[in-house]
């Protein structure tokens, strides 16, 4: 029976050895993959997407073109993961209880009430220009969720619950999910694949303008709505309880 200090030391030694071994494997794997890729024709892998995407989808931002057109089904699965995580958080934490009325100081509140409308410019720009500039539905949606959290933190949970009721968040998340799935079916009815874009008859527009890229701006908007509603409702669930009903004997 060794002493606890030696046991802790041995545990940490084993853990450190394991971490070093695993990260060594990580490095070897990555470097091998990189060398393998360098041996193939260098720019062969990235050329197709960057060369094709403007002509095929009308989206300047190639990453958005991949996310919303070529691999839109992955985006649907990712939205499903957000949906599942909201559902699990709600199931674990239960219904949000009585919202607390704790707010920031007066100066912060006055300042925020003047500045808050300006803060909404950035997420909306990122969402609507997702196919033209860096950004897209995810980034804009998460910034919207952060703004909702800011409203809750700055003006108190009760005010936040009045301005943006939890029911509205849930409804917009369901609506965006149904919209995503429904737009996918348009592609099938037009005789193409699920979630198809230009192939399903959506107008491509001239690349570089706001109304281009077929269904991509609409998908960006829906994904942004869904991510914003999902993540901010996770916050509402997490913050909706006071830590007061802890069992007394365990404190």
């Amino acid at each position: 029976m060794e002493s606890p200090v030696i046991r802790v030391f041995l545990t940490r030694l084993t853990a450190g050895f394991l971490c070093l071994l695993l990260s060594l494997g990580f490095v070897v794997l990555l470097l091998d993959a990189g060398r393998h890729r360098a041996q193939t024709i260098p720019t062969q892998m990235e050329e197709p997407y960057t060369a094709r995407s403007v002509a095929e989808t009308g989206s300047i931002n190639v990453v958005t073109a991949i996310l919303m057109d070529y691999r839109a089904f992955d985006t649907l699965g990712e939205a499903t993961v957000i949906f599942a995580s909201v559902a699990v958080a709600a199931a674990i934490l239960g219904k949000p209880g009585s919202p607390s009325n704790r707010t920031m100081g007066l100066l912060s509140r006055r300042q925020l009430s003047a500045l808050l409308p300006l803060f909404f410019i950035f997420p909306l720009f990122v969402i609507f220009h997702g196919h033209l500039s860096p950004g897209g539905g995810f980034q804009g949606g998460v910034s919207l969720a952060v703004l909702v959290i800011l409203i809750h933190v700055a003006f108190g949970d009760r005010f936040g619950e009045e301005v943006i009721p939890h029911r509205i968040l849930a409804l917009s998340e369901y609506g965006a999910a149904i919209g995503l799935v429904g737009i996918g079916f348009v592609g099938i009815f037009q005789g193409s694949a699920y979630l198809a874009n230009v192939a399903a008859g959506f107008p491509r527009g001239t690349a570089g303008t706001l109304a281009s890229g077929g269904v991509i701006p609409l998908l960006n908007l829906l994904v942004g709505m869904k991510v914003a509603a999902g993540l901010s409702s996770i916050y509402v669930h997490l913050a909706g309880h006071e830590a007061e009903n802890v069992p007394e004997k365990r404190r």
Partner: protein
């Protein structure tokens, strides 16, 4: 060349801040260092020309994760002060 040196410095700072975020004492300190780690990661992604990923990392790592962590910490701590 100067940009290369800045890149390597940022890589070193990423490793140091990742280590510090786990081993620093106190939950709130750890969360703030984690958001510093996210901002440094954002700068690194910008160096590697991954602008979309950099924006997502900035918004999620420095914005949303910090808010969620601080909320969870305030819920898992004995109440020492009351609502005004």
């Amino acid at each position: 060349m100067a940009l290369d040196i800045a890149f390597y410095l940022i890589l070193a700072a990423i490793l140091v801040s990742a280590f510090a975020a786990i081993h620093v004492r106190g939950h709130l300190n750890a969360v703030i260092i984690l958001s510093v780690f996210s901002v440094l990661t954002t700068v690194k992604f910008t160096f590697l020309q991954a602008v979309d990923v950099a924006m997502a990392e900035a918004v999620i790592g420095a914005g949303l994760m910090t808010a969620l962590f601080v909320t969870a910490i305030s819920k898992t701590r004995k109440r020492t002060w009351r609502a005004r």
